[in-house]
Each structure stands twice: as structure tokens, then as C-alpha cells.
Amino acid sequence: MTRTTRTTRGALAALLFAAALAALALTGCTQPAAPEAAPEPAAPAAAFPVTITDDASRSVTIAARPEKIVSLAPANTETLFAIGAGDRVVGVTSYDDYPAEVADIAKVGDFSGPNLEAVAAADPDVVFVTTGVQADVIGKLEALGATVVAIDPTTLDGVYEAIGEVGQVTGNTAEADKLVADMKAKADEIATKVASAEKTTAFIEIGQNPLFTAGAATLLGDLIVRAGGANVVAEPGYVSYSAEQLVKANPAVYLATKTSATDAATVAKRPGYDGLAAVKDGRVVILEDNLVSRPGPRIVEGLEQIAVGLHPDAFGQ
């Protein structure tokens, strides 16, 4: 009960701090008047208005080609840049770190969600959000006059679709189609390499203390299957998992994201892990979080990391 009070205090402190940050953002980086939108060379024949159904099952109509875009998820930002709409992005979150150009774009949100004042200051035509924690703010963002599109794929096919949607919304459909085609080619190439290999049992750690993993119906779970693996976790979603069950399932490969486990040696030292086949055989694979967990264009690189981890032979390693 004392703890509840303290947590509330903590949240309050965080809120106050966020407010202070917003004040800084507003005074510190005054928005220059939006430059006249230069007509894009070889403008794709995207017809506006377009209507799409987003990942929050909302039907969204985009009246005209958006000139100012805010992205509230790093994956969306990566997609926007990859399909040539990066020059129209006027706001991102402080999580965004790719491509390098995002460093110069105004930050309009952080871990506590979008800062509505900062988003308003960016005056976007379209805001790309993710679902889950951001589901609550969709209405608030719409009240600012922006069209809101939720993107939250949980499979690789879903990522392709999402990129197609981002293409439609921005009018860069041709580039989006090309990007998806390239990604599919890469994924197919990986699929071919691992096709003949036997399925490798795998476990993926995304958090420790408690041990957290991705089961079925998650993007990571889908990537494991596509990389020629069999996830030992059948439970759906992201769950806190029993170490006992892990020992019993005894996966051949132990995958772990970098933010959860710094390196393979650390993982091997965990209590009870010395009996794991993956540890004994030196098959603990550390994955780059941003590649395997962002449902954007680089997800196929994440897929490759997992595939190489599961089937090093197939990749000549």
C-alpha cells in the first residue's frame, strides 16, 4: 500500500518531467515555416482520396497526399524513409534512431507516449501510431485534426501489408511495392536456404527476471518459424515463462535479444542453464533488438539473424 502511493508519486514525477521536456521542445526548437512542398519528380499515380483499414480495424480515409507526417513508432519511421517519404516526416519519437536522418527531426514523443502539444506544434496531416499502449491516444490525436493510421503487424505477411498501407497513405505506392518485393525476395532466399534443413527447436528470451518470451501469434514467433525453427513456446503472446519448462523443453538454440542478455557467456552463467543443450553446444544467439522486433523494412535482416542462428550451416557459417 505504501508502494502504491510511491508508484503514483513516481508516475507523477515522470509526468511533470515529460511536461518540462515538452516545454523545452516547444521553446527550444521553434518550427520553421513549412517549406513549400516541391512537386515530387515522377510522382506516382496514387489517387487520393484513398481508404484503408488499419491495424486497429479502423477504416481511414486520406483526403489528399499528406505533406506533413508524424511517426510515433520507429518501425513506421523506417518504413517511411525506405519508401522515399522520409522528407515529409516532421515528427518522430525519441526511440527513433534509424536511418541517421531522424536525428534532425523533431521529437514529439517518448516512452510515456506522444506529447500532444509537440504533435500539435508539428501540425501533421497524418500520424502513424502503433496499437497497444498507443491505442488510447488515437482519439486525442484525431482531435488535433490529424488523420491517424495504426500500424501493428504480428506476422511477416502483416509487415508487408503494413508497408503497402503506408505506401497508399503517403501516395508512394510504387516505392512501397518495390520495397515489399525486395523484402519478399530476401525472405524467400532465406526460406530456400533453410528449407532442406531439419526444423531446429528454439526459445527466444526477450526479458529476464522474470524470464520473458515470445510465443505463438507474435512477430518473433512467426520469424522463428520462417527461419526454419520450431518455437518451444506454444502459448500465445508475450509471456513470463517457467524456467522449469524451459529446461524440460531443452531447445537446441537459445535466442536472446541484446537488451535482455548482453552476451552468450552471461546467459550460460544463469542458474540452471548449465544443463541446457543450447548452452552446452554453444548455441546461444544474441539478436539485435531493433532488427528482430521492429515491424519495418529491416525485419528481413532480423529474420536472417535468426535463420543464421538456427541453421549456420545453411549460410556457410
Binding site: 508508484t7 526479458g207 522449469e244 548482453t262 542458474p271
Partner: protein
């Protein structure tokens, strides 16, 4: 003290001890993975003789056994600490975290998480160590602040504890803003849990709980006197100042040990002493050992539920202690009223 109640003390203590043994055996036998009883015994046997090797051995000796024992130790430590704090402050709402232990440990943990995020290897041991140091430093600061005006009185202690606690909690939130990648770890650390249990932890918490527990049991008579108030206790021959320092040290060590390995597990330290008091009465010579046993039982059972009810998915143990413990406490209260 009240002899009528004390006649119930010995049977109650024996019953609790038997219940603890039964609970521990059940908790070792049951888990996310079904292991036949004979295999459990054999695995423990191989573990004792240093021949462990197979899957069942890793599972029982490497994971389940240390977890059950750690649950018992942490539960016992928290309940005894709660007992001492409640008597010292003559406040039924005092818990092991009352003097800012939680905030101090929290700040230590966040700093360790932030500092070791990119440092290889050290993180596993750094977080509990930092939490422990944070908890102890906070307590030392609080006690020092409270005794600035000479006497170490209860109100000053509480006020100093609250002030330091809020300040540290705010600092923790501030650091969190910059360490958001560690947020999830921290949130779960705050919820508390025994998932990290291992033999090295037992080697640390075991002796601390044993020493603290024995010391607390030996302080039973003095704790009874403290209930009468500082002045009256002094008149009856107790060196109140000295006793406060010693008992605070004991309770703090117990709390810090528990926090370091299991995070912040709520409810046990606050409620177990009350539950036990309803059964064995207010005499600390009985209450302290009974709380020790009761706390161990409660956390072992709660953790058993936490790791099996949705197996192989685990839920935070703090949820179980509160959901199961709250109604149980109400039942004890109602039963007591009716009598």
C-alpha cells in the same frame, strides 16, 4: 504475559512448523513440469552427493529447490522484519519498507541496471548487490537524520523515513526516464519475484535470515516492553535507545537481504504478523518465531501458485500474496470477532 494465551503458543508453533515442512515438500514436488516423487527424491539425493547431471537434476536441484528455499527464507525474513517494525513504531501499518528501504533499494537497482546495461557479465549480480547497498545506506541516513536532535524517537524516524523515501523515489523516476530500455526489468523488480533464485542467493540470504531471526526471537521480551511506549519501557529497565538501534539493524538486515534477491514483495511483511497475532496472541516471544514460520509458509505457497496456476506461464508472486492473503486475513479477523 497472558498465560491463557501462552498455553496455545507451543501447539501453535508446532503446528506452524509442521505446516511449513509439508508446504516445502509440496512445493518441491509440484511445478510447471511434472516430475514423479521418486525422481524428485533421487534428484535431491544426487544433488547432495554432487552427482547431479540429468534434466531432472537441473530442474529440481538447479531451479526448483533453490526457489522454494529462497521463498521460505525471504518470507520468513520479511515477516520477522514486519513484526519488529510494528512493535518499534507501535504502528500496525508499519512494514519492512517503512523506513525507505524500498526506495533506497529501488534507486540502487535502477542505477545498477543503467550502469551495467552495456557492461558484459556483471549485471546478474550487480542489481541485487546495488539494491542491498541502497537499502542499507538509506537506513543509515534515516537513522542518522532521526537522531540529529539527540534522541532517536519514533516520530522523527518515521518523518525522516518518509522524507528520504520520497526523495529517493523521485530520483528513481528521474533516472528511469533515461533508462527506459531497462523499464520492464525495473517494473518487474518492483513487483517482486523469486524467478532469479539460485544457490548463491541462498548462501547470502540463508545466514542473514538465520542470524536476524535468532536475534529477533531473543528480543521478544524487549519488543513486548516497547509496546508500552518508550518511557514506560525505560522505567522497566530497558535501554530504549540502544535497543532501538539494535533492533532496527536486525530488521533492516533482514529486509535488505530479502529485497536484494527478490525485489519488493508486498503484503507478507505487513500482514503476516497480524495474521499470526490473531492466532497466537500479541506476546513477541511467540509472535516472532510464529511470524517467521508463517511468512515462510505464505511465500512458499504463493510462489507455488504463481509458478503453477498458468504453467508454463508465470505470474508475479506479489499478485498472489495479495489476492490470497487479503481474503485470508479478513477471514481471520471475522473469525476472531465472532469468538
Amino acid at each position: 504475559m497472558d498465560l491463557g494465551r501462552n498455553t496455545r503458543a507451543v501447539p501453535a508453533l508446532i503446528a506452524l512448523a509442521v505446516a511449513l515442512v509439508v508446504t516445502v515438500i509440496a512445493a518441491i514436488a509440484l511445478g510447471a513440469v511434472r516430475v514423479p516423487a521418486a525422481e524428485v527424491v533421487a534428484a535431491i539425493g544426487r544433488g547432495l552427493t554432487g552427482q547431479a547431471g540429468g534434466m531432472a537434476d537441473t530442474l529440481i536441484v538447479g531451479i526448483r529447490l533453490p526457489r522454494v528455499l529462497l521463498a521460505a527464507l525471504v518470507g520468513a525474513a520479511l515477516a520477522v522484519a514486519g513484526c519488529i517494525f510494528q512493535a518499534l513504531f507501535r504502528n500496525p501499518l508499519a512494514d519492512p519498507y517503512i523506513l525507505g528501504v524500498s526506495s533506497g533499494a529501488g534507486l540502487g537497482a535502477v542505477l545498477a541496471l543503467t550502469a551495467t546495461a552495456t557492461v558484459t557479465g556483471v549485471r546478474f549480480g550487480a542489481v541485487p548487490a546495488a539494491a542491498f547497498v541502497g537499502a542499507l545506506l538509506t537506513l543509515m541516513l534515516v537513522v542518522r537524520l532521526a537522531s540529529l536532535r539527540g534522541r532517536l524517537d519514533t516520530v522523527s524516524l518515521l518523518l525522516a523515513g518518509v522524507a528520504v523515501s520520497y526523495t529517493l523515489a523521485a530520483l528513481t523516476s528521474f533516472v528511469q526516464v533515461f533508462a527506459r530500455e531497462q523499464m520492464a526489468t525495473l517494473v518487474f523488480w518492483m513487483m517482486g519475484g523469486l524467478g532469479a533464485a539460485s544457490w548463491p542467493y541462498i548462501a547470502v540470504v540463508g545466514p542473514m535470515t538465520a542470524v536476524g531471526g535468532v536475534a529477533a526471537i531473543a528480543m521478544g521480551r524487549e519488543l513486548n516492553l516497547m509496546l508500552l511506549g518508550d518511557e514506560r519501557a525505560g522505567q522497566l529497565g530497558l535501554d530504549v535507545e540502544r535497543f532501538k538501534r539494535v533492533s532496527l539493524l536486525v530488521a533492516s538486515l533482514l529486509t535488505a537481504a530479502a529485497v536484494a534477491v527478490a525485489g519488493l514483495i508486498g503484503f507478507v511483511g505487513l500482514m503476516v504478523p497480524h495474521m499470526v497475532r490473531l492466532v497466537v496472541g500479541p506476546d513477541h516471544r511467540v509472535l516472532v518465531p510464529a511470524s517467521m514460520l508463517g511468512g515462510a509458509i505464505m511465500l512458499v505457497v504463493s510462489d507455488l501458485i504463481a509458478r503453477t496456476i498458468l504453467a508454463p506461464v508465470e505470474i508475479p508472486v506479489g499478485i498472489v500474496t495479495a489476492i490470497a492473503g487479503g481474503p485470508f486475513f479478513v477471514w481471520l479477523l471475522v473469525r476472531g470477532e465472532r469468538r
